[in-house]
Amino acid sequence: MTPEPRDESELVARANQGDTAAFEELYRRHRDWVVSLAWRFTGSRDDALDVMQETFAYLFGRFPGFELSSTLRAFLYPVVKHTSVSLARKRRRVVSLDAAERAQADAALESAWQPDEAAEFEALISALAEGHREVLRLRFALGMQLEEIADALDLPLGTVKSRLHNALKALKEAADGADS
């Protein structure tokens, strides 16, 4: 019996060799995070489970030959997001003939994150630009490090730092304004 691999890159290396235990471990380790993220994007438990299934089918299909350049969460984030957006687009039954309305609806899908109504700072964050909002959510809601965010969003690290800095500044000013 092979020992349980602990390191993520070691797990990926073993999955690249077709190790069943490594496949199962990758699934078990990231299942809840993927479902939770998909739920935030879709707002539906059933859809979140469908997104989870598609996400892992995509991940498993990358083996053998999968190279992990960052963390697996950074790899999975865009997959979950795009799968959620695609699902939401499929679910959208009425398509407007008006181009502007269609563009607006598509933009709404792209920023698919479902706001947590109960969150104290949700209203303040919603006022920020989408790019700033997303960096802020990856940092605070998902607890990602800056390099991980850069990989997940496929952005230079400097851009991530700049967006986070500006987002925090805007948030602070908004909070100060709300207090006074």
Partner: protein, 233 residues
């Protein structure tokens, strides 16, 4: 730092322990900065508040694990196929140069026969090859030869039966370069290779001109093709 205080980004990094030492030292002594970090902590706690996890239904969980097992098996199958394919490629790479060299030697032998056949060289060379053994141990007898018959030189031999194309070598012929008991085109090839390597043994001097060179290779090639086609004359 701005106005002697860390920026918002540096404070956020200080919150998670990722900031540099100077920032961390500043935060320890600055009440205002600690207040800002506390605010960032509230934001993180608020936005990162864990929702109740969504339980994955048992049948979906079983389906996912089954998918994991299937995909792992598929990866192993693909890797095995790749290994088999690369093994076949390696074998081919080893065999092809030898096959090509043998083909070239055969073609060369055939060409030689056609050229010498026109000039009557054939009979002369055959006789030379047959007469070549300078040491008495290397004598050639054509099958089917009676074992009791004494070794004969080819010039004295009766015509070989067409049904006996193979040459049986008793002792070692000077043309049997690789020592496998037969004189064939491989001997010509081996001698050619040894010429290329610059280390031909003097014993392979087929025409007794005091040196081992290409003409000796030609003679072996000719003899091999000529004898194997039943053309021992």
């Amino acid at each position: 730092m701005t106005n002697g205080h860390p920026t918002e980004l540096e404070l956020e990094l200080a919150r998670t322990g990722e900031a540099d030492e100077a920032t961390l030292r500043h935060v320890e002594t600055c009440t205002a900065c600690r207040g800002r970090i506390a605010f960032l902590g509230r934001v993180a706690a608020d936005l990162g508040r864990a929702r109740a996890p969504i339980p994955v239904p048992a049948e979906r969980e079983a389906a996912m694990l089954s998918l994991a097992r299937q995909d792992a098996a598929d990866v192993r199958r693909r890797l095995d196929e790749d290994r088999r394919r690369s093994g076949r490629r390696r074998t081919l790479l080893r065999v092809v140069p030898w096959a090509a060299a043998a083909s070239v030697a055969l073609a060369f032998g055939a060409l030689w026969i056609s050229r010498t056949g026109e000039t009557g060289e054939s009979e002369r060379v055959t006789a030379t090859i047959a007469a070549a053994p300078s040491d008495a141990s290397a004598t050639v007898a054509m099958a089917p030869a009676a074992p009791s018959q004494p070794p004969t030189r080819s010039a004295e031999r009766p015509p070989a039966a067409p049904a006996a194309p193979r040459v049986a070598v008793l002792g070692r012929s000077p043309a049997d370069v690789n020592g496998d008991g037969r004189v064939d085109v491989i001997d010509a090839y081996v001698l050619a290779r040894s010429l290329e390597g610059g280390r031909p043994a003097a014993q392979w001097d087929q025409n007794h001109d005091g040196r081992v060179d290409r003409t000796d290779v030609d003679r072996i090639a000719f003899a091999a093709v000529s004898l194997r086609s039943g053309g021992a004359k």
